[in-house]
Symmetry: C3
Subunit: 242 residues, 3 copies
């Protein structure tokens, strides 16, 4: 049976890039179900793509999972397809870290191939549109049941590029911090509340909560925690019982 | 046979919310056809969602129809699924009025269940993402043929929340107003024309017309009737033969 | 077997227009695969729609191809469906040039029908929403196998509206210009480079390259060639060896 293909890119929906990727897949794997996880990743933001893929994938049926956030398309970066330890999921994309967090989430890569010269890429593959010419045709082929070993040249799992994060807070256990739901705390010195949802607090209140993806999150009800706390990406945040 | 599922939300397409909803449905109902009616409803605008659902639904095959515009997610509002009198359509969403107009359009609710504690919701349902954790899993289950009575606790049809509108003008019959196509009229004292399409008038002209959904509409060709007439939502508009 | 339907419009994704088109198709051709090529064409920009359709279509499986960019909907323009010489592809849309370039790309129209009064249009077809009421229902019928001759009144292929372009540069062969990859050149008197990808040049550099659709293109790495060269649509561009 044909497998499900998921797509995640930074292409946006203003032009025909995403549509042409769907068209290419439909030509090769007419029975594949294709799910657009999102095409709204910030252009060239590999980390945002990697985080979004990791949190979305557990909700998708196991299949072929394409992620294209690719600032160095046309340059030296490798293109890969890999099988993870869990659920036989196959991930396809540039070897720049965008697949890394999702691969780790499913037990890490156990089989990897370099698809840069795959026999299944489109003839005359363009230097600049690998979603259409390389990643989607290879993914469609894999969805039809072609073995991973036949779509590229073998690599060792430890040859692929990791994603470097300042600190992985995903698995920080809120229960271990001594915070109690509904109790006051401070975030970078400001008064806040450990709440379940926005519905529990007043507009303007700063809250710590577990977001919809079980990640610790900070927010201001109907406002911006980023602005109120003067934070940037990778800023340090200190949370203490109030 | 698996039924069609339609989705209408205020999630937008910038992040992975809609994609994850599709992923969840694909896991439960792999053969369901899923149609995105729109995800562009203004955030938290229940009335806009209700109007859009009412006018779009008659064009969709009868099936399971999910609408999520949900400012009070995580608070006390109920989550419901209901069957309407006509065509066995089933509507799924928060009980805040967003389903109301569409339900009325198809003869009103004849069977209603509270799905807040449905056995088919995802484990660890998040407080804040009921589209993924509650509405879509329940809709997918219903699309597979699970009876409505098995996805939640029964409610009386008259227990659900109506949508309060200042005045329902949908069924105002233009023919009854004494206006004749092509004849002049006034709208709040300004000269206008009762026209069939923009092609009939000059740029800047104010027209009354029957829009693509058979609703009486006011517009300025290549301009804004809202601005030209100084109107707001719920403003009164007086139309008289000119 | 049911054929694939592709959609290309200027409707955008902010409201329910595209969703309702999908709904109408699902009702008539429940097994058709529908591919959104794009709905991001600039509003009423027939030429952009025609160019996008021409470059996207070769990547799509042969089927029914709808394009709706339709500034004169409701006025006198014809609505047509046509079969091209190659691959039995059928194109459906307004007869205003939007289908022209794609038809030429596939050998030109060999059979054309006027679908303005098609028996397959929706009852009460609105004057202003022909995507829903005319083009998509007719396309869905064609996808189910209804012969072209039964969805409208025959026209001669030479009766359809061509698209007038200032100059068709698509097939300009770069190899014929005496330019060599990596060599300097000038564009409207400014220093530039004939490069393969952005990865080959520095930020701010002006390049000539073959884009992902094999079209000669001019760009500034991380900048705007339009602004840097002061160009408008249809501006003349002179390229010379440097």
């Amino acid at each position: 049976v044909t497998k499900t293909i998921t797509l995640l890119t930074d292409y946006g929906l203003d032009d025909d890039f995403v549509g042409v990727c769907h068209a290419v897949i439909a030509g090769i794997a007419p029975d594949a179900r294709v799910i657009d996880l999102t095409h709204g990743i910030r252009r060239h933001d590999i980390r945002e793509g990697a985080l979004s893929l990791r949190r979305a994938l557990p909700y998708a049926p196991a299949g072929i999972h394409v992620a294209v956030v690719d600032p160095d398309v046309g340059a030296e970066r490798r293109a890969i397809a890999l099988r993870v330890a869990d659920e036989q999921r196959i991930l396809v994309g540039p070897d720049n870290g965008v697949l890394w967090l999702a691969a780790q989430r499913f037990g890490g890569a156990v089989e990897v191939v370099d698809i840069g010269r795959s026999p299944h890429r489109l003839r005359d593959a363009a230097a600049t549109f690998h979603g259409r010419d390389l990643f989607c045709p290879v993914a469609a082929q894999l969805a039809c049941g072609t073995p991973l070993g036949e779509v590229g040249e073998p690599l060792e799992p430890d040859e692929i590029e990791p994603l470097h994060m300042p600190l992985d807070v995903e698995h920080a256990e809120l229960s271990a911090t001594g915070l109690l739901l509904g109790h006051p705390l401070t975030i970078n010195g400001r008064d806040a509340l450990y709440a379940t949802t926005f519905a529990d607090v007043n507009p303007g209140d700063l809250i710590l909560y577990e977001d919809a993806y079980q990640t610790a999150a900070i927010a201001v009800n109907r406002g911006s925690a980023l602005e109120q706390l003067g934070l940037d990406r990778d800023s340090e945040v200190r949370i203490s019982p109030g």
